[in-house]
Every structure is written in C-alpha cells, then in structure tokens.
C-alpha cells in the first residue's frame, strides 16, 4: 500500500504542534509550581481526604441522618474550604490552564498517531520514531489520569520535561519518514506486542519521575539544607510513593503481557519464542527489576529509598533498551530505521 503524503505531512505537523503545546503547558505548570505553594497545600489537604483516612468527605455533601462521626463533618468542611482557596489561588488557575493545554496537546499527539497510521495503512508503531511517539502519549495519558485522582498536579512540569525531551529527540534525531514495514513486521502481533510494550514503557515514566522526587525528599530529610526550595513544593513522601506504586502496579502486568506477546510473535517470525536477542534480554532485565521493586516494597528495610531507586533503575533500563540497544547493538530487532 502506498503512503499518503498529505496524511503523513498532517501527522508531522500535529506532532510538532503537540510538542510545542506541551512546552506551553510546561510553562503554565512552572508558574503554578513556583508561586502556588499556598493553593497547593490546600489542594493537598483535600486530596488527603480523597484517598487517605478522612474517607467520609468522598461520600458526598449530604450529611447522614443520624449523628454522624465527627471526622466526616470536619473532612467535609476541609474539602469545602480547600475548594474555596483553590478558586482563589491565582497560581492555581495557571495550573488548571496547564491541564487544559496539556489535554489539547494530548489530542494533537493522538492526531499525529492516527494520521501516521492512516497514511501508511498500518499500526503507527513500526519504527523507533513512532515507538517513542506512542511511549510519550502513554506517559501523558497516565499523568492526566494520575492528577485526576491524586493531588499532584503541580508536579506536572517534572513529567512533561522528560516527555518533551523525548519528543524532541524523536522528532529530530530519530525521525523517519512514513513507510510501510518489512515482511517480518507484517503481523497483527505488531499491533499487540509493540503497542503494549510501548504503552507500558510510557506508563513506567510516571513512577520513575515520582521516585526521583521521592529521593529528593529523602535527601532533604537527611540534610535539611539540600533541595529545600524544591522539597517545600513537593507533596508528602507517602503520596509520591503511592503514586509510584499504583502506577507501576498497573504498568507491570501490561508490560508482562507485551513481553509474552513478543515471545509468541517471535515464535512465528524468527522460529523460536525466546533467543536472548539483546532486546529480549533487556526486556527480561526490565521485568526482573520491576519484580524486584514489588518485592522491595513488601520487604522490611527495602521500602522507601531503596524501592524508589529500584523503580528508577527500571525506567533507566527501559530507556537504555530504547536508545542503546536500538542504535548501538545489532540484533533481530533492528527495525529502528534511523537514517
């Protein structure tokens, strides 16, 4: 099937605009991050009510008929006052604008993917540029879900920074024109395996960032002089740990599935389901590291800093797999198509 040049051009434009708009969102979030301390703390208190101990706040405004427990009513007032101060905080407004802009960026990002797939008549993840596009998309969507559930919106800069960086690298160094894929990739397993692995990799970005922030927090606790101004603006360590854990726990089975799908595909494309090809090997290492993370969180003496470090190591290996193995080591997965 020939490539439709107009559509692929549209895809490229959407891609560029998405990156630019993320950059704009980043600036807005930066304003919130820099000036929005008060509003943020209020939001945090309300957030604690959402998934912490003062549960009743989530039960709706309607007070129970009988004499309700006191926690419920205080939490409700707290949430109300938080909402009020949120309305007031000007920096907060930048934050909500940032979210709106980020959603717009995500839609353009999605358009870039759709046009790319449409122009080539295949799933839009057949080379490294496209893989990176999917990965970043997954990271952005994950983050939007996370901030709808946890009061961590003001951390968006830290997530958008690596996303924009990766999109920039993808759009410049790794860019490749839209073409169909070679015979070995013409399989519905391309759709299943690559999409799940790319998405899981992108989702892993979020816990990676949360864990880095967690370590800054710890460093500050050990020596209050260090990173004081940064840490003042961070949510609690528990909150960061919870975000890291919950997102990892979602991404890990997806990644596992992606690796299994890859093995099934390898069985029909390369004649064996597992052959220690460099890319397979690093996927295995990634898997073992995230398994280690889950164990660490259940092992006394390994929770906290060490678990966070393991999580970061996991994402570092994901990035290593993407860049080093694709570009430096030759293997069966040499479909990167970087000119």
């Amino acid at each position: 099937m020939p490539v439709n040049a107009t559509l692929s051009q549209l895809s490229d434009w959407s891609y560029g605009s998405a990156a630019a708009i993320y950059l704009l969102a980043m600036i807005l979030f930066l304003v919130e991050q820099a000036f929005g301390r008060k509003g943020r703390e209020a939001a945090e208190r309300a957030g604690a009510g959402r998934d912490g101990s003062a549960v009743a706040a989530a039960g709706g405004g309607e007070p129970p008929e009988g004499p309700a427990s006191t926690t419920a009513s205080t939490a409700a007032t707290m949430a109300a006052s938080a909402a009020e101060s949120r309305r007031r905080g000007r920096a907060e407004r930048f934050g909500s604008m940032g979210v709106a802009v980020m959603v717009l960026g995500m839609l353009l990002h999605l358009a870039a993917l759709v046009f790319r797939g449409w122009s080539t008549g295949r799933a839009p993840w057949g080379n490294m540029y496209e893989f990176l596009m999917v990965l970043c998309f997954a990271a952005v969507v994950t983050w939007l879900v996370v901030i709808s559930r946890h009061a961590v919106r003001h951390l968006s800069v830290f997530v958008l920074l690596p996303v924009v960086l990766l999109l920039f690298l993808g759009g410049t160094l790794l860019y490749s024109t839209a073409v169909p894929v070679q015979p070995a990739l013409q399989s519905y397993w391309l759709v299943i395996h690559v999409s799940t692995v790319a998405a899981a990799s992108g989702v892993f970005l979020v816990p990676g960032v949360a864990s880095v922030l967690y370590l800054f927090h710890s460093a500050h606790q050990r020596d209050p002089a260090r990173f004081a101004s940064l840490v003042r603006r961070l949510p609690s360590k528990e909150q960061l740990d919870r975000v890291a854990y919950r997102v990892t726990v979602f991404a890990f089975p997806v990644f596992t599935f992606g690796v299994i799908a890859g093995a099934i595909w390898a069985e029909s494309a390369w004649g064996r389901f597992w052959g220690w090809d460099p890319k397979e090997t690093v996927a295995f290492i990634t898997w073992v590291i995230y398994a280690a993370y889950l164990h660490a969180r259940a092992t006394a003496g390994w929770r906290g800093d060490r678990a966070a470090m393991i999580n970061i190591a996991g994402f570092a290996v994901v990035v290593f797999n993407l860049f080093f193995i694709n570009l430096v080591v030759a293997g069966l997965h040499s479909y990167a198509q970087v000119d």
Partner: protein, 548 residues
C-alpha cells in the same frame, strides 16, 4: 537458648553441646532460612538482572558465533579473558545458572511454607473485632432506630459476598468480622507456581529442542527432515542425538519476493508442498503458502522461511564437447541489495585419472548482482529484485582441493590452493545472461540464468506449549494479585435508646494491602449499613431521642 546464669559450664554443656554435626545442622538451617527469606530473594533477583546484562551488550555464541570470534580477535587478551569467564555464553554460564538455580530453590522454599500458610488462612475465621473501631483507618458510626437483630441481619445480607463470622461480646454487643480479597493471595501463589513451571518447562525445552537450517532451490527441489545430515547447520539440546527426528518432507516449487519502489522488501513467499505422517506412505503432497510470520506447522514441528538468495546457473562446455550445467547457491553479502558471492565448482567429465582430474577442475567465483550497476568495470547491485542480473567472475582452473579430505565451504574456493599455485586464475570477466567466456584451451563458460533458493529452518521444541500455558496462568495470577485488594470490615452493634429498641452501630475498615482505593468502597458499605430502616414506631422514638 534457655540456660540461665546459675548452671556451671558443665550444665550448659549438657543442654547445648556444640558438636560438629549440630553446627552443620545449624548452618544448614540458617542457610535455608536465609535463602528463603524475601531479602535474599530480592538480592538474587538483582543478581539475575545484573548477570543477564553482559548478554545484551556482548556478542553471544548462541546468537552469532562469528561475531564472537571477531570480538575476541579485536580485543586480544581482554576478549580471551571474557571468553574464559563465559561472557560469550552468558545464559549457559556457571554463574548465571548458579544464580537462577539459587533463585529457583529460594522460590520453592518460599512457596512451600506460604502454601501451607495459605491453606490455614483459608480455613481460619476472620479476626476478632478490635475493641475500638474508631482507631481504624476507616470508621463510621451512627445511631439507628432499628433494633440490633435487624441491623445484624441486614449486615449479613449486605456482606453476603464477604467471608464473615458473627460473635457476641461479653457486654452483649454483637459483631460481625468480615474479610474479602482472598483472591489476592491465591493469585500471588498461582503466579509464583506458574513462574516455577515456566522456568522448568523452559529448561526442559532446552534439553530436547533442535533447530536446523537448510537451503533448498526453488525449482521443485526437496528436503526431508530425516537426520542431521540433511541440514546445512544444526543446533540441538543436550538430549538430542539426531536420530528419531520427526519425519516429513518439503518441496519448494517457487519463491517470490515483492519490493517497494525504494527497494524495501514488501513480501516474501515460497510456494511449497509437504508430506508428513500418513502422507509419507501414500505419497500425497499438500500445498502450503510459506511466508515470513506464517510458518508451516506439522507433526509438532515448524518450518520457517528464513531468507532467500540466488543461484547463478553456468554451463561449462569442455573442449571435447561435453557439457556440464550447475546452479550452486551464492550467498547474499548485502541484505539490502542482495549482492552475492559464491563459487560454482566443476569436475571435468569422464576423467578417471586422479592426477589429471586435479589439474583441470574449474571454479567460477566472484560476485552476482540481481540488478546490475557497473562503476567502470566494478559490479555492484542497485536493487534486490531480479531485474538485470549480471556476474563478475574469476574462472579458476587446477586443483580445487576437494579431494584433500577436508570439508570446504560451498561458497568459497580454498585459498591455500591458490597460494600453492595449484589453482590458477585463467579468466576474469563481467557477464550478463547469455554471454560467455572462452578459455585458452577452448573450454567455454556461459552464464545461462538465475535460480532462486529459499533458506528454511526446521524447529522442534516439545515444551513450548507448556511454556505458553504457564505464561498465561502467570499473567492471570499476577493480575489477580495486583488488582484484588485484601480488606477487612467490622461492625459492632449494641442496643441503645429506650429499652434497647435502637442500635448504636460502629463500622470500621482496614485495607491489608495498599490503602488507596478502599475508601470509596468503605464509604458506600458504611452508608448502607448505617441506613436506618426502622418502622413507624421507631421513627417516632428516634425523633424524640434526637430532640432530647
């Protein structure tokens, strides 16, 4: 130790004698305990990740043997040291095996007691209701007009899907302890057992599997999976001796490759026929369209289309008028343009004298291009498709060294023969199809055309179905163990109000795993449990009580 301070050394001696046997037992016990602890499992997981790493960056024998040789040549003593330390066979190395065996032991040692614990906990009743439910992470309380009996009855209804037990406390308060999410532990155990199964199936597969590659001309040539000799290369597990391969035959009738205008391959397909099982006896051939990603599966074995290439066909007309025609496969040395090299070798016909034969053997060696492009006289290929084939050949005459007893590559001539002047170049020419060379003795060599060949791989792995099954079970177990939340709920109901007609109700909740997420469910449950369904009379009582 139980010895007090009052017993003398002799007394201590009696209660605890430090014999070598005991010391060894203690050592074994401690080692076992250590090995099966989470901490050690964690460290072993790390070591496994670390040990797997060199395999990703260094060439591996099982993947690419020649890359390993090149690496060792390039890096000298460093390469030889790495080789000695098995860094080019990471996944079969002593140290990698040691780590994964230890992990396996640790896994078994961890699973056995956990399974026992699991059975016990599945039988056990939910724990006693804590004295003060207000201390629980989740708590709601309320005073209802309904009497304790109906509150408790409704709670049983509402908690129908929870495992629960009702108890009556000393002061007459009635409680229900409920617990849910046992599937988490089930999933976790299923996951770990499936992982164990997967590792074992994988290891067993490695003992019994084999892989053989063979090149078959796409002109109706046949290949039969009858023994190691039928293959060009053959890799097998320790328990495969090459006898008893599953019998089947494959005949390659045609090969087709489609390319996009830019030269990128779009599709490869081999038109084949095969026979296996009963077909072998009655001679039935079944057609199959063999493609990349679309292997032939028969009798538990798989046949893959790995690659393809060209076999230029040459005819040698000897001075006495005898002709010999041959199309030997040449190997692609550029995967993009399929520029190939090779050597097509001829014996002079009808020559019985060995010495004479060895002075007049002929080899045609050089380059083949499917779409020729000449830079002056230098031949290259500009595309992989068979558009304008040409060869650039050296014709060698003399002793090819085939009788020396050493095997030689079908793609090359023996350069030693050239160095010893026993093989001599007698012509160098570029040829298109139909062109020919005439040698000084009148021998004519013509380039007749091109045949295609397909390279096939036969793979056999008796346990791969098991590995897949374990992998799927593992995934299901993992999902269950990560998604399901283990959680507890307690309700305490004591009589209240006039004559105990109403109830004072406390509801407490605790998520045993990750706290987040239980909140909403608890709120919903607690709201239901605290909903007042008392009748008319109760309602009046209730309002009176509220007023007071």
């Amino acid at each position: 130790m139980t010895t007090g301070g009052d017993g003398g050394p002799a007394a201590r001696e009696r209660t605890y004698r430090d014999t070598p046997v005991r010391r060894m037992l203690a050592f074994a016990r401690n080692t076992w305990r250590g090995l099966t602890s989470m901490r050690v499992a964690l460290i072993l997981l790390f070591l496994l990740a670390l040990a797997a790493f060199p395999g990703a960056v260094l060439p591996q024998r099982m993947v690419d043997d020649s890359a390993v040789s090149r690496y060792i040549d390039d890096y000298g003593w460093w390469g030889r040291l790495l080789d000695r330390l098995q860094f080019f066979d990471v996944y079969g190395s002593v140290w990698f095996s040691a780590i994964y065996l230890l992990l396996l032991v640790s896994l078994v040692g961890c699973l056995v007691p956990r399974s026992a614990e699991y059975v016990r906990s599945m039988r056990a009743k939910p724990v006693l209701t804590p004295r003060n439910l207000a201390r629980m992470p989740h708590h709601r309380a309320g005073e209802l007009r309904a009497d304790p009996d109906s509150v408790i009855a409704r709670a049983h209804d509402r908690l129908a899907r929870w495992r629960r037990v009702e108890r009556t406390e000393q002061d007459g308060a009635r409680t229900i302890s409920a617990e849910r999410g046992y599937l988490r532990e089930t999933g976790n155990l299923v996951f770990h057992f499936a992982l164990l199964g997967l590792i074992i199936a994988f290891a067993v597969g490695h003992m019994y599997k084999y892989e053989g590659q063979v090149i078959v001309h796409a002109d109706g040539s046949e290949f039969c999976n009858s023994g190691i000799y039928a293959f060009d290369t053959f890799n097998a597990g320790l328990n495969v001796d090459g006898t008893g391969l599953t019998p089947f035959c494959v005949r390659v009738n045609d090969f087709e490759a489609d390319y996009l205008p830019n030269g990128q391959p779009d599709n490869y397909r081999a038109d084949i026929e095969y026979q296996s099982g009963d077909d072998l006896r009655d001679g039935t051939w079944r057609p199959y369209d063999l493609q990349v990603n679309h292997p032939l599966r028969t009798e538990g074995d798989r046949v893959y289309l790995l690659g393809h290439g060209f076999a230029p066909e040459f005819t040698v007309t000897f001075p006495d008028g005898q002709q010999r025609t041959k199309a030997t496969q040449w190997r692609p040395n550029d995967q993009v343009t399929l520029l190939s090299d090779g050597a097509t070798k001829f014996d002079p016909p009808g020559v019985t004298d060995a010495a004479e034969r060895r002075s007049s053997q002929i080899a045609i060696t050089g380059l083949f291009a499917p779409t020729a492009h000449f830079n002056g006289k230098i031949l290259t290929s500009s595309a992989p498709d068979l558009e304008d084939p040409a060869v650039a050949v050296d014709v060698m005459r003399g002793d090819l060294g085939i009788d020396s007893g050493y095997g030689q590559s079908i793609f090359e001539i023996d350069e030693k023969m050239v160095e010893q002047d026993r093989l001599e170049r007698v012509a160098r020419e570029n040829l298109r199809v139909g062109e020919e060379i005439e040698l000084d003795d009148g021998t004519r060599i013509s380039f007749d055309g091109v045949q295609r060949w397909a390279s096939l791989q036969v793979s056999h792995d008796p346990t791969q179905g098991w590995v897949l099954a374990f992998a799927i079970v593992m995934l299901v177990g993992l999902a269950a163990s990560l998604i399901v939340k283990r959680r507890r709920l307690w309700i305490r109901v004591s009589p209240s109000g006039d004559g105990g007609a109403g109830s004072l109700v406390h509801v407490g909740g605790l998520a045993r795993t990750d706290q987040a997420g239980y909140g909403e469910e608890f709120t919903r449950l607690a709201a239901d449990l605290l909903e007042d369904t008392g009748g008319e009379r109760d309602a009046r009582n209730g309002s009176e009580r509220n007023r007071s």
